[in-house]
């Protein structure tokens, strides 16, 4: 395995790291592009992009991790184009480079969180994309973000009091000797746990009863998800991975209600829920499960000559 850092794009402003096998890679295999997880630079949260790239390279694939303009070490664009157009252009330039220098004709696009949404958006407009891996796609949506915040805050305090504080002799001593912050405890129990639970349950109920699939969802996010049926028709496999309990999963399932009617039981769309993983896969064991899951999916979705058509 070898790694090379490159400055790509018209003005050489996109900082990218290419990970590839020592031997000349098979250009029939798709190359992998990893898109920034939100504003986290190209190493990914908890460095999962670096380790994922290295594992996928062991399968013979070329993997490119790069910073979009204005993120990480890549400088901002000075041409005044919109964010969406800039992202599309950055992605195109990186894919062009890999095609020209490594001969790759097709790509698996992958990303975590915001990077998952970008992968979907790019795949919908670039026919060179023949597979998408979306890891914990979240964000870009005020109402769902607020729901997510309340749900996780409630979970945090519930875990804190029911698993940690209750077994701490030091905390019991403070509680029983008048040294605890009682106002804070009451606020956490009644507002941060109970009220947030009620509030999030009401949000979920409202969504479930809403006949309008896009109600309360940002038009941009809804538009992104609406591209999924066309991608499935294009025979682009889509792998949606969520940590168990992720509210992004709830949003995705909500947004896929209508799409699933069109897609039917297509095996092109796969959703996998990974237990005992936090949003950014902090624990090493959860990271390894993620890499293995993605590697297995890549193996199962490697193109065969008959399946791939020239872009």
């Amino acid at each position: 395995m070898k790694e090379e850092v490159l400055l790509l794009g018209t003005n050489k402003t996109l900082v990218a790291v290419v990970t590839e096998p020592e031997q000349k890679p098979n250009s029939d295999l798709p190359a992998v592009i990893l898109f920034n997880a939100g504003l986290t630079h190209r190493v990914g949260p908890n460095r999962i992009y670096v380790k994922l790239a290295r594992q996928l390279t062991e399968m013979g694939m070329i993997v490119v991790r790069f910073d979009l303009s204005g993120v990480g070490d890549s400088t901002v664009r000075l041409d005044g184009v919109s964010f969406e157009a800039g992202v599309a252009d950055d992605a195109r330039q990186v894919m062009d480079y890999v095609s020209q220098t490594r001969g790759s004709k097709h790509f698996f696009l992958m990303g975590h969180c915001g990077g998952a949404l970008i992968s979907l958006g790019i795949a919908s407009v670039d026919p060179r994309a023949i597979g998408i891996v979306m890891i914990n796609a979240e964000g870009g949506d005020t109402q769902w973000s607020e729901y997510d915040r309340k749900r996780k805050t409630s979970q945090y305090y519930e875990n804190y009091y029911s698993r940690d504080a209750i077994t701490s002799s030091e905390k019991w001593k403070k509680l029983l000797t008048g040294k605890a912050a009682y106002g804070s405890i009451l606020r956490n129990i009644f507002v941060n746990i109970l009220w947030h639970r009620v509030s999030t349950a009401a949000f979920k109920l409202k969504k479930r009863l809403s006949p309008d699939q896009e109600a309360g969802t940002s038009p941009e996010i809804a538009a992104l998800y609406s591209t999924i049926p066309a991608l499935v028709e294009r025979k682009v496999p889509i792998f949606i991975i969520y940590s168990q309990g992720s509210s992004g999963l709830e949003r995705t399932q909500f947004l896929l209600r209508d799409a699933k009617k069109k897609i039917g039981s297509s095996t092109k769309l796969k959703i996998e829920i990974m237990p005992r993983c936090d949003h950014t896969f902090t624990l090493l064991e959860s990271q390894q499960r993620l890499y293995n899951t993605i590697a297995d999916w890549c193996t199962a979705n490697m193109p065969t000559p008959s399946r791939v058509t020239a872009p």
């Binding site: 090379e4 003005n11 900082v15 460095r47 670096v50 875990n159």
Partner: protein, 272 residues
């Protein structure tokens, strides 16, 4: 060539060092006509702190280079874009990385006089590494002074993340000998080295001049400043209440402008 040049920003990105030990670096080239006699190596903190502090480090590098300092950023082995998927066997591996990065910076800048700057653990490692090599000045940003406290902070942070995200959270029994710290695989000897970090125990001046910036006044930092002064070092010390970017959500994209300005001002006035 891996170099781009935009107004006020001219960088080279590269790997340096031997194959499996190679490290990732970015060199910020100062504009022509404003050259200084010192270069600055930015020593990162690790993992979460380095990832979240990345934006601020880049900003700091750009601002210093605009003032004429050749600046280099890099990742320790096993972190960031560098080779390796775990911490080195001993913490001294990262101190050696600082020495290698200093050589790389000297070679690129053609300047022998070098300064270091480091956030959190980066500050501690810079101070320890400087003890064995000639360094003109060191700027410490909220430095880790005692390793045992720092390891506790990282472990509590890890538990906090799990509490926040996991409904089916595993037991949070405190592990005295953790094999991982916030996504970084570590062994026992490395953990012991981390726990045993104690900047109050240094006996040789790591540099002629030092700057300490902290966010809130801490007794530990005040005592460390006194210790450095007793070693004969010219120490400046500022408290600047800016966002603690190394713990903040990176998507907030906060840049601690006052902190960065404080550091830039110190370097530019100290090394004209």
């Amino acid at each position: 060539m891996n170099q781009h040049s935009l107004p006020g920003e001219n960088i080279e990105a590269f790997y340096f060092g031997e194959n499996e030990k190679s490290l990732f670096g970015i060199y910020h080239i100062p504009p022509k006509g404003v050259a200084r006699n010192h270069s600055v190596l930015l020593c990162p903190s690790i993992e979460q702190e380095a990832i979240r502090g990345h934006r601020a480090y880049r900003q700091l590098a750009v601002r210093l280079s605009r003032l004429g300092f050749p600046v280099m950023r890099f990742d320790y082995w096993g972190t960031g874009d560098s080779k390796g998927d775990r911490a080195p066997d001993r913490l001294s591996g990262w101190q050696d990385n600082i020495s290698s990065a200093m050589n790389e910076l000297k070679s690129r800048s053609k300047l022998d006089r070098i300064c270091l700057a480091g956030l959190r653990l980066g500050g501690a490692l810079a101070t320890l590494a400087a003890g064995s090599t000639a360094v003109e000045g060191i700027a410490l940003w909220e430095p880790v002074i005692k390793g045992d406290t720092y390891v506790d902070v990282l472990l509590e942070w890890q538990r906090d993340k799990l509490r926040y995200f996991l409904a089916d959270m595993p037991s949070l029994a405190v592990d005295d000998r953790p094999a991982e710290l916030l996504g970084l695989a570590i062994n026992n000897a490395f953990l012991d080295d981390m726990i045993n970090i104690d900047l109050m125990a240094i006996k040789q001046p790591p540099a002629k001049h030092m700057m300490i910036v902290e966010h809130q006044p801490q007794d530990e930092v005040a005592a460390f400043k006194t210790h450095l002064q007793q070693l004969g070092i010219d120490v400046q010390h500022k408290t600047v209440d800016d966002p603690r970017v190394w713990t903040d959500d990176p998507d907030k994209a906060l840049v601690p402008n006052q902190i960065l300005q404080t550091l830039v001002t110190w370097f530019s006035e100290e090394y004209k």
